[in-house]
């Protein structure tokens, strides 16, 4: 089985057991390539005494801590093949992760992201609003995770409209203009969770504006830490947004710069699903053993996308839990998870969270 064959399937069609065996085959094959083409990755695999030719499942692969990408430039491609370098956005003073992509890997990420999200929002390209300033994507030399997410997701829509000005204030005229034009048909709004809250919701509330966005699907991504600090739960977020805008369809997704593309999107039941391209293993704090369903631990992410850098099996600094397998009422197969928060003392990472830290 190859990734090309996965592209022909619905991204949630495989039951866990079958998915594990297919995904294992693909991921281990890619890891073998990294082993031969990335000296540092080889050293790590050898350090843990893992023999990749013996491995049967991605559960057996060594997992790299995501912070390793801040310390080392890990890549499996020659310099002249680097198409773009993704950086995880960091506030000043924080070290930045660097993820090296060749053209093929960049396209693959984009393709998979769109396949996953369109399974949630529907296949056709819809008019799209973006809660951000167009400046974020204009500097293409250094690709921040936020910029990359915007670039990729804006491909889902037709003529995306950026509704924030350079100073992050809400451009109400632009917003209203868009709604006059497209408000009566299905449309999409995308933004980083914190930015939607701060620059869309808070602004509307302050201005005492109530919009009619009943046909809008709100897609979000980015961390929840800042909102958790303000005691805004996912439920309250939805309620409040509905109050000011009439938006009633939501989907958030869990993602990271180190494994762009294979995101964990929220379904209509509020569950975050692993697609056939990737999986989540939750590991115990005390010994990294695999947690049972319902047991909290550290999130490990496994993805078959990273091809130009050895990022297929990573240990994040997020705490989460597997909520169920193959049995979500929405019908999507595989694991569905809940992200609970960040490990304490962990460096503040991520895109919208580091943005929030400046506030």
């Amino acid at each position: 089985m190859s990734i090309e064959q996965l592209h022909k399937m619905n991204p949630y069609c495989l039951a866990q057991q079958e998915k594990e065996s297919i995904l294992s085959e693909i991921v281990i094959e890619i890891c073998k390539k990294h082993y031969h083409q990335c000296q540092d990755y080889k050293k790590i695999v050898d350090f843990y005494g893992v023999d990749l030719t013996d491995a049967n499942s991605y559960y057996e692969l060594p997992f790299l801590p995501v912070r390793i990408f801040k310390k080392y430039n890990l890549k499996s491609i020659p310099k002249d093949k680097i198409f773009k370098t993704m950086t995880s956005s960091g506030t000043t003073g924080q070290q930045v992760s660097r993820i090296y992509l060749d053209k093929e890997n960049a396209l693959l990420q984009q393709k998979v992201l769109l396949r996953i999200l369109s399974d949630i929002t529907g296949k056709q390209r819809l008019p799209m609003l973006i809660v951000d300033s167009p400046d974020v994507v204009s500097d293409r030399k250094l690709f921040s995770a936020r910029g990359a997410a915007l670039m990729s997701i804006s491909m889902m829509g037709r003529n995306p409209v950026y509704v924030l000005n350079s100073d992050m204030s809400l451009n109400v005229e632009k917003l209203q203009e868009f709604l006059e034009k497209y408000g009566e048909q299905p449309n999409i709004m995308f933004g980083m969770t914190f930015m939607v809250w701060q620059h869309f919701y808070q602004e509307l509330k302050k201005k005492n504006l109530c919009l009619d966005m009943k046909n809008t699907f709100l897609l979000q991504s980015g961390g929840w830490k800042k909102l958790q600090q303000e005691s805004v739960s996912r439920e309250r977020f939805k309620e409040e947004i509905t109050k000011v805008s009439g938006i009633s369809k939501f989907s958030d997704h869990y993602s990271m710069a180190e494994q762009n593309g294979s995101v964990y999107a929220e379904c209509e039941c509020g569950h975050y699903h692993a697609s056939i391209y990737s999986d989540i293993i939750v590991r115990n704090f005390k010994d990294f053993s695999v947690c049972d369903i319902g047991e909290e631990g550290i999130i490990q992410v496994v993805s078959c996308l990273p091809n130009s850098y050895p990022g297929n099996s990573l240990l994040t600094e997020d705490i989460g839990v597997i909520e169920g397998i193959d049995d979500c009422p929405c019908g999507r197969k595989g694991k569905y998870i809940k992200v609970i928060g960040r490990l304490k003392n962990a460096e503040l990472r991520g895109c919208s969270d580091t943005y929030a830290a400046k506030y």
């Binding site: 350090f47 005494g49 990294f288």
Partner: protein
Amino acid sequence: MILMQQNIEYMIGSMEETVHAKPLPVFDRNVIELLDDVSKEILKIRNVREFEDLVSIAFWIRKASLIKMKQQYETKDRLGYGLMFHITPSNIPVQFLYSLVVSLLAGNANIIRMSQKEFEQGRIICEALRKSLEKYPSMLPYVCLLRYGHDKEITDELSLKCDGRIVWGGDATISKIRESPLSARAFELTFADRFSLCIINGQKYLEAPSDTKEKLAHGFYTDTFFSDQNACNSPRMVVWIGEKESCRNAAEIFWNLEKEVVEQKYALEQISGVNKLLQECTIAIEMDAKRDRKNSYGNYVNVVNVGEVSPNISDCKGNGGLFFQAFVENVRDIIKCVQKDWQTLSYYGVCTTEILCAIRETGVKGIDRIVPIGQSMPPSLQWEGIDFIYSLSRHIHVL
């Protein structure tokens, strides 16, 4: 004084009084009375037993213990130098008290810069000192505890004023502090980054009764986990001596027992495993080392085997319970690698004479302390080959 006083936070005392304090004789009676009272105040605290380090130093400064120390010194015609300026480290909570005690006993007045990092132990000590100084007001000028940020002007001023400066490292702190010159007559003691290790005879360990093994596990815990291996005398590496097979078996028993102790006593943070995973990956990339195959000690105890024992093994600096491990045939194999920055060698089942012989014969510059496992922490008037009483006081030579 032209200092930017508003940038200084005083915990105890004031600089004005301290700079004018007169030197005292070594082991002055008032100093002993004061320290004995501080000891009582500390030991009175209800939850003090939670802090082994604090209890240990409090017992050490009781009157009876101090008088015993005094008897080992030639105290006649010995006086303090005057004003000592101490820079104390952020990683060991009771270090500033230790630094204060040895310098007071030597007869000096003290300005101590404490770390910005807050520890419960630090709070308890300050409270005890405050209460005791109220009872012994004549001692007030001798103790000034303060805090300030990275402010070179303040360090400049204090460095020029003092008769001696004590800098508890790391290397980076020392070179930074040295940018502030001392007056011509002043001297300096510095304690730089050090590497410490533990050596165990594998066969002897296997033969040891189980309660000895248990005791060693607790002792090793005190030496290492108590300071998260961040103290200079904490072993970063365990070297097994003897026939390989028995050493390997011994190591497995040792680490499993250690893991049990750590599980009982140590509050493992959720992030700790991830931090050590990052350390391991860094080691994998930078060094010739492998994770110990038998390592099944969870995230409490991580053991990394180094391929070869060489002089640069002192680069092996793990913390939070990450240990390097090596296997050698005899004591000389390890001693010949000793570097100048090696400090404490803790041991089990190895004859100290044999170690000393090896040090003498190989002529290495490092190793200042040789102590049984579990004894790498207790306070002493000697440190790193320096005797504080003699180093911090002057002897008036009368012909």
